[in-house]
């Protein structure tokens, strides 16, 4: 079940909200757990058992790590091996076989498994919990239902953010439900829904038109690059907004996952603003334990490249994701070694252009199917003279999607937020906000009902 669906919006959500707010405080967590398991069962009826198994395993190893300090490292390693093992089996086995087969005469058969939705998100949450317990940063959770609720909590289950146990440890026991929090939750959820349905999906349609077309022109390559860049941002940040908003409706406060990444002035800055919960996870649980930057230069380079290769692989079992991760790793190394010193002297506008171009190229890699297509779509951006600058088809789509592109570009900056918060417009914004939210909700519903382009981008995560 995805948030941008009729089933979720007008059936699942009202039922769960009604039951949650009717029942006494004592059983609210239980209701949320049941709702979350149903939410997952609805899309993944078989794999819900896998998730339950993983939860039990995490729970038991959490207790063992806490109780037997002497062997806690061993238990931690076993628990990580189980979690990572399950993830590798379901997500990477066929990718590994495919690559081994390149060197074998007698090919190994692929295994017949479908990737369970959200496995990468909840596996990382489970690993972080056990590590935090091991490090003494989190108290072990003795109530399995509470731990199960943390891992399976439906707002963040299938598309993140990767909520740390330490963030909501206290909230599992005791959280407040206020009108203000609920209203803020509604606002975040509706804005997230609008970002996903009205911007990401519309621009995704433009990207898919490019991919299904044989038309070749520089303008079309740029339209594709810009549209996927905006699609991925609005889709992902829209999902995060919806998750944060739903969390608030049920009394939780999750950390922010995006912070206007397209106004970043360096790639280092970009990754402080993009999918914050994932980059901070890799920093805290891989990069720093490997020694971070407090090691020899060679090891530091190894650490960065390894972390970014893994970041890429986390997004999908395919070489383009590995290349995508390494691409960022290498640019981050360049920035840290010499580029940042140079960039400091460059005007902000040029720094932003630099980031936007690097990121656009990266998403062409991210969205590519095979090296040939990736090369073609990147080269097309600069093939001036070799292919037509403009074609009838690309010009048509530019005209047809220019408003959506403009909304996307403006919406990815804090401009509208700043205007709404400014003294001059604050009153008007306050007055118009409810109307604006209702319009977004109703129009998003109309797009969903029409059966418009509504992909779930995280099926490979």
């Amino acid at each position: 079940m995805i948030f941008s669906s009729i089933t979720f919006l007008f059936f699942f959500l009202p039922i769960v909200l009604a039951i949650y707010y009717i029942v006494p405080k004592k059983i609210k967590n239980f209701i949320l757990l049941v709702a979350s398991l149903f939410f997952y069962f609805y899309s993944e009826p078989v794999y819900v058992l896998l998730m339950i198994f993983s939860i039990i395993s995490t729970y038991i190893f959490g207790l063992l790590i806490d109780k037997y300090k002497k062997y806690s490292k061993v238990f931690l390693i076993i628990s990580i091996c189980i979690s990572v093992g399950i993830l590798v089996y379901f997500k990477y086995t066929n990718f590994i076989i495919q690559n081994i087969n390149l060197w074998l005469k007698n090919k190994i058969d692929f295994i017949n498994v479908i990737l369970p939705i959200g496995i990468s998100f909840y596996t990382f949450q489970m690993i972080s919990y056990n590590i935090d317990v091991y490090r003494g940063q989190a108290k072990v959770q003795k109530n399995i239902l509470k731990l199960a609720m943390y891992i399976s909590l439906f707002p963040q289950l299938i598309a993140g953010p990767i909520v740390r146990y330490t963030t909501i440890e206290g909230q599992l026991e005791n959280r407040t439900h206020t009108l203000e929090k609920f209203s803020n939750g509604v606002k975040r959820f509706v804005i997230g829904l609008g970002k996903k349905v009205l911007i990401a999906n519309v621009l995704g349609e433009l990207a898919s038109k490019f991919l299904s077309s044989n038309d070749v022109s520089v303008l079309f390559f740029w339209l594709y690059g810009i549209s996927i860049m905006l699609q991925i941002y609005f889709d992902f940040s829209g999902y995060s907004d919806m998750a944060i908003g739903l969390g608030k409706m049920f009394g939780f406060e999750f950390l922010e996952n995006f912070n206007y990444p397209y106004i970043a002035t360096t790639i280092t800055d970009f990754w402080r603003r993009w999918h914050i919960s994932l980059s901070s996870w890799f920093r805290d649980y891989i990069y720093i334990p490997l020694g971070g930057n407090r090691v020899s230069k060679l090891k530091w380079i190894r650490n960065i490249l390894l972390v970014w290769m893994l970041t890429g692989l986390w997004h999908g079992a395919s070489w383009n994701f590995v290349i995508w991760g390494l691409y960022f790793g290498i640019i981050l190394l360049f920035e840290k070694i010499f580029l940042n010193k140079f960039l400091e002297k460059v005007p902000n506008i040029l720094k932003r252009v630099y980031v936007l171009v690097i990121v656009m190229l990266s998403f062409i890699i991210f969205n590519g199917e095979g090296i040939e297509q990736i090369m073609r779509n990147n080269e097309g951006l600069i093939c001036i003279g070799e292919i037509p600058l403009i074609s009838t088809e690309s010009l048509y789509y530019l005209k047809s999607y220019c408003i959506a592109l403009l909304i996307g570009i403006i919406g990815s900056t804090p401009l509208s937020k700043n205007i709404a918060n400014s003294r001059k417009f604050n009153r008007i914004a306050n007055f118009l906000e409810p109307v604006f939210l209702i319009i977004i909700l109703v129009v998003s519903t109309s797009y969903i009902i029409d059966g418009s382009f509504n992909p779930f981008l995280y099926f490979r995560f």
Partner: protein, 362 residues
Amino acid sequence: MKGNKAKDAIVTIAFLIILFSVFIINIVVKDKTISASERRRLASFPKITKSEVMTGKLSEKFEKYFSDQFVGRDFFRSLKTVWNFNVFRQKDNNELFVKDNSIYKMEYKLKEKNIKKSAEKINEIYNKYLKNMKVYYSIIPDKNYYLEKDDHLKMDYEKIKDIMSQNLSNIKYIDIWDELDLNDYYRTDLHWKQEKLDDVVMCIKENMNLENTDFAKYDVKDKGEFYGAYYGQLGMKVKPDNLYILTNEELEKCVTYNFETNQIGKVYQTPRTSDKYDIYLSGAVPLLRIENPNSKSNKELILFRDSFGSSLAPLLLDSYSKITLVDIRYMSSKNLDQYIEFNGQDVLFLYSSLVLNQNILR
């Protein structure tokens, strides 16, 4: 602070009212079986079986069901279209667009392979059944061809003609493109209007050496407003045309025979579907014979056609005693001689550019 509290209350209450009222209304209101505007059967409540649940198919079916049966579905579809055109200023909505109160569908990607395959299919039929017979073909352009000063994407129409003529050199081509204009097509549908086909009929008859028809001999009967296929697909209000039929005593005495259902009928029959255009020869029928008992001629015609042929064929009946209409989108052309005796009839292949571009001739 007071203002914020009031705003919080308004946002919360409005959200909950929308969520719960939509939920309750959708539970209470009875399901529909058919959507008149979309001309299709709506999804019904899915059967819940163990295998459907465990394979995850049930969730897909539920999503389809909830979306199809959503109360106010037509309103929401219209809202989406209006938003797309007026807020996003998109030039088309699901490839449909409105110009001068007419709806058009962009069929812009010319699929050369499909056109070639369509031509090959016609050649195959010619070589198998039609050698030494008088055989003609004609192409009906979709109405976008006649749109002027418009930047929506269009097919390369000349290329269709070129590919067809290169591949059908042994069959005579009848060019009807200059005999039509935008007013000859329905505003909300892809089809042409029967009452506007005088020039087309004249052109075809001239090329096939048939006696010309005086259109004054037909009575024009108004069958009321016609909301075409594009109307439902677009989901936006556009003024409809009226649908007319051209008839007279001779046509009313003609008898049709449906090979598939063994049913005898008339040239014009009240349609059983929600598509009013089906009044012409009962709509989509794989193999149909029309007999004209009052024909002054003994000639017969075999018309390989798509839906455009349904409204044209009655206007050729005054030149033939029998017309056999073959729609090889719905039947295979491999065993046609089981049903039709090929013995010197006139043969006309009449296909729209839309059909030729799809590779659906079997």
